[in-house]
Symmetry: C2
Subunit: 298 residues, 2 copies
């Protein structure tokens, strides 16, 4: 897919006045198009209880897929918080450029429900869990990097494994160690993957729709991107699990199974971008350059 | 530096109510603090002719450091465009989430000055140019990755080298190959490093101040993040080289020399984040997690 084209060319969808040595051939499929061509059986439905919908005061929604396979305790707490409507009337109060958007109770005075507290286990890593498909080239942060059967980007040292801090991943804010966070203050990555955080903080999911509702917010002028004088946090109107909505109102999503041949084709395409726009394929990529395909299920 | 703390803790700068097994010790220096402790001799002034200042209609400025050592022809053209005031009354017209902000002449009708045209050399790579300091762990896109003596992130195959598409790097939009672009339509990276573009498009510099004035703009609703119906591109009021301003009005910047011991300490700190926030150092990082320190020179 041509991606840095001038406006007219992008809109017209055909070669503009640029000199071409040959007539334009039919362009190759983009990685996303390759993913979308995978058969229906390669796509797995995300459970209603793993979909958490934050609705902002500006009408935008930020939809998070939870990762109970990696952070079962944090996810259990988050379900309690959602079902108690705890995030209603909280806010997005920190936007640090090239790093994270953070939300929750900016007053730090809101009482947490029973069963939700800053206590272990940390869930920063888990035993075993080698990916079902690996990146072609080495990872700069870990011995092994690839994707799990249930659709998550994972790094591993061969004994333990962990989610990677890629764009749009969601984690739990915490105090200094040994705090692990209460699961009530959350952040999403809105810049280059801050993978130094891997194994140091709990990742609990990823934004599967609406990340730009966070990434395009005004950056905080205070320390660490917290909102400063004269800046207004973005109110959160509600947070609901899809499973708590009437059946007819639930959004449905599916992800491309990393164990499928379609995913292998998608990964190869991401690691080897093609002409006519690209002329030199890299032959590899870092794991955060390969977002797991997720789409609305119709 | 604690970075995902709740609000009160970040503002107070001291441990909050989280359980601590020991009294808090003096926190270690952050990577940025380590860089700033390097002696004055380790910092190199950026030439006035390498500083290009875009002023937006909202009053924000986006300041770009040019990279003539990598893209001499593109930079020469950009200096012509700036000195002819060509970018005045153009706009930022494309914002694609987790990818790029793009600016220039959205009408594609503005006449280019003599000496500025879509013609070679491409300047996607250059001969030689091995970095003076390398990353500890392998790179996922190239055989070698590190930093040049003149302060740029560079990848190499041992024979040729190239700038890497890290956050805030600036490149030249182009049509399908063999177009290389006219140097008039520019983009800046505002998401996870799209390093598949390395060697496929010309990088010509980096935003050294004001990247958030681009990254926080509303995302385009059109194809590829171009602004769609009802969206207004952000006007560019002017673009000037610092060398074209009166001496007293020029902003001055300096970068930490990658050949200095201070840079080596900074790199080590980025690759091995420390307690009390971090408990597991990665022992490495990708090159785009190590932005070259640049600061205002007073």
């Amino acid at each position: 897919m041509p991606i840095l084209l001038p406006l007219a060319l992008a809109l017209a969808g055909q070669p503009a006045a640029a000199p071409q040595t040959k007539p334009a051939a039919k362009p190759p499929l983009s990685p996303t198009e390759i993913a979308n061509q995978a058969p229906a059986a390669a796509w797995r439905t995300i459970a209603d209880d793993d979909i958490l919908i934050f609705t902002l005061a500006n009408g935008r929604q930020v939809i998070v897929q939870l990762a109970p396979g990696f952070a079962p305790q944090h996810v259990a707490r988050m379900r309690i918080l959602a079902n108690r409507h705890w995030w209603d009337d909280t806010s997005v109060y920190r936007i640090q450029d090239n790093y994270v958007a953070q939300w929750g109770d900016v007053t730090e005075k809101k009482k947490l429900p029973d069963g939700v507290a800053d206590s272990g286990p940390a869930e920063y890593t888990r035993a075993g869990g080698l990916p079902v498909i690996r990146m072609t080239r080495p990872d700069s942060f870990a011995a092994i990097a690839g994707f799990t059967a249930d659709g998550w980007p994972e790094a591993s040292d061969g004994k333990r494994s962990w989610l990677t801090h890629c764009y749009a991943m969601v984690g739990v804010g915490r105090d200094l160690a040994p705090s692990i966070g209460s699961s009530a203050e959350l952040y999403a990555v809105i810049g280059h993957a801050p993978r130094a955080l891997d194994r140091n903080i709990a990742l609990v999911g990823r934004v599967i729709e609406g990340i730009d509702a966070l990434s395009s917010l005004e950056r905080g002028t205070g320390k660490l991107g917290f909102y400063g004088d004269g800046q207004k946090p973005t109110p959160i109107v509600s947070a609901r699990l899809a499973s708590a909505l009437p059946a007819g109102e639930r959004p449905h999503f599916e992800y491309l199974s990393p164990a499928s041949p379609g995913f292998a084709r998608y990964l190869h395409a991401r690691e080897n971008r093609e002409p006519p726009f690209f002329t030199v394929p890299a032959g590899g990529a870092d794991i955060c350059s390969v977002p797991v395909p997720v789409r609305r299920k119709t």
